[in-house]
Amino acid sequence: MLRKADNSATFAVAAALGLFLIGGLLTTVVPPLVDKSWAKPFENHDPAKGPTGKLRPYTEQELHGRAIYVREGCWYCHTQQTRTLLADTKRSGWRGVDSPISTPDEFVYDNPHMFGTKRTGPDLSRVGGKYDTQWHRTHFRNPRDLVPGSVMPPFPWIANNESEFQALVAYLQTLGRAKNWRPDNDYER
């Protein structure tokens, strides 16, 4: 086979594509067919099976906020996944309660997905309901006013644009809320 590929471009092309497509198809087309949880929105009413709740589609305002999150590249520094690591469930947790891990069924309506690859700032997968609107306004104007040492850029053009600001906060408050993980529902608005 090797000798043949040496002299025949047609053979080389066919073999290179064939080998590539085996892995290509098995790792992209097949997984969503096998694992149905990738496409089925989260819904659980039985506390015995873990956190209850239901994933709902984004509202128009939340989608607008999400578009701003994409536009400003927030996702280059903030991941949105509480991984299966103890430290992640602690860090995504709040007021002494650990966060549930992220599951595929919580992200069915996410387009584009915002899982992220880099955590320059904290993970945001459970940030919804942790801080109120006034906190976010101050924070977007200058993050260092609330978190000394932060390297997050200021976003005055969002903080000063009421509709953009409200939309972005509305989106942020949805993050991680499909699962009702807070005891006593103590979410901020």
Partner: protein, 465 residues
Amino acid sequence: MHADRAAARAETPSAATVHSDAAAKWFLISAISYFFIVGIIAITIAAKFVWPELLGTVPYLSYGRLRPLHVNGMLFGWLLAADMGLTFYLLPRLCGVKLWSEKLGLATAALWNVIILGAVVALLGGWNQGLEYAELPLPLDILVVIAWVMFGVNVFGTIASRKYEQMYVSIWYVMGTVLWTAFVYLTGNFAVLFTTGVNQANLNWMYVHNAVGLIFTPVGLALAYYFIPKASNTPLYSHKLSMIGFWSLAFVYVWTGAHHMLHGPISQWLQTIAITFSVMLLIPVWAVVYNFFATMKGQWHQLRENVPLKFLMSGVVFYLLTCFQGPMHSLRSVNAIVSKTDWIPGHAHMAVLGAFSFFAIAGTYYVIPRIYRTKLHSEALANWSFWFIMMGGLGFFVTLWLGGFWQGWQWNNPSIPFIDTVVALKPVWTVRFFSGVLIFCGIVMFGYNIMATAIGARGEARQEA
């Protein structure tokens, strides 16, 4: 015997065919310009880690918009354009014929510049698709596909009309690049648009990983396989080993996308497959690297004087290191520490800057004097450019690995507040910024040297006329 023949091929002087190299020239000149311009953006965003308020009130110059411009500009504006230009140089020579169409090549170069300029406007305006490496909006994606088809036609047209029956290893790698890129790019920029959530992320990571693994790796290795024997005037050690490297790369690379989401919300079995194949990557990598080292046996002394060879062999070492890191941090235990930390940019920069950009810089230093039929403007300056980029690069990579590991350990101790892990990294980011300045100085020397060579050669030609 096999190896001798193939190596002899790489050495065959193409005296019979006169190459115009116009397309190669224009790709290289524009690539170097973007290397310089995007280099400014690179040090700007590195500076923003040290001084977060820098340019903070201008939306168009905020970190979130400059970062994708840095990544896309370096990947497509500099590296892929340089790779295409160098392909247009080496492919006709390995085939013993002229490039199938210089005019088509020039049109491809022109279209490529339109794409890059469009990318600058789109990304600064915040017109971002929200998918890593696939930030460019749809109209530009379509132009990329058109440009790639034009490039592919030229490549396969040249190969189909070749005079030598046997194909040297660089030719397979170029063919592989053209074919795989087509599928990988379509997956990452078009197929993703029909999916959401984890399914989309899976396609996105397949693209992100293979943009490096099946675009920049094969074309980069095509360059290395051509320029290492050429620059050292030594035949390649083994043709057979190069085949093992190529065919195992073709099979193994594409499976690994899900290793970007280890421990994340994606099926465990898919993570395990990705890990298994990531570890198997050691096979193609070692086959390639061993071949290059064995080629240099008894020839290492040439590194003292030969600047292209310095870039090539340091690039090979960085390639080995980066491809050793990759499989290792795909292991769950290591991944739990380094994933999402500053280790990752350290790793990514070693692949794209340390390995593949080094190959492209070496190729450019090698071909520009030959294309313009003159001598390099300054060998001394070329040597300085190597040491600046090398020292800056090492400073960049090493501090980010150490810093990233440290950061990962801190994250795994939840009693340390997150902001303390940010503050702890500030010295690391400061060193990274100054390393970036060193790299940028090297880029300026490289660009100036090449431009001075090109312009000087033109001046001479005019005088003679």
